[in-house]
């Protein structure tokens, strides 16, 4: 998961966008040390015929 740090994390400065494992990300967000970062990443488009009328 990508997160943006709102507190420094060790030597990693505040504001940096980093990739962390989900459990660490959840802990960081819960402790208000980071926020989830999703900007700038392409949304996966799903091509399917499932919802088309028969």
């Amino acid at each position: 998961m990508w997160v943006r740090l709102i507190r420094s994390h060790g030597k990693i400065k505040m504001g940096k966008v980093i990739k962390v494992i989900p459990s660490v990300a959840r802990k960081m967000i819960e402790d208000k040390r980071a926020i989830e970062y999703t900007d700038g990443f392409p949304v996966k488009k799903i091509k399917t015929d499932f919802f088309k009328p028969k």
Binding site: M1, H9, G10, K11, I12, K16, I18, K19, V20, I21, P22, S23, V24, A25
Partner: protein, 135 residues
Amino acid sequence: MPTTGKVSGNLMLIYKDGVAIACTTDASFTLNNEQLEVTCKDNDGARQYILGGQDWNFTVGGIFQFDNVGIDDLTDMAIDKETATIRFGTDVVGDFFLEGDAIISTINITSPLNAPVTYTATLQGTGPITKGITT
């Protein structure tokens, strides 16, 4: 949802204490099981083995960046002779990962002419390697 089908190498990263090493171009995992030969005359020439010691390591390589997570941490780890928890896997819930404590046995930084500065590091496992599921 766990990753399905063929997996892109871009998804599998090396994580140090839960934080991905940034801007990597290569990562690998190697495990060796020591073979102890126990062939005896009764085996009629067919060699027999049992497994002994187990040795594993991760290697990681990437583009050198002063202001990103990676080489800064790895060089500190190498110089200070630190042990860190290293994980090799994706950040997708449900995928399995390989994890263990490791030390840096070698680190190499190369700055060639007309090419980016790159680094490679070997993270030698110390203790058992474990396999788990990302939650």
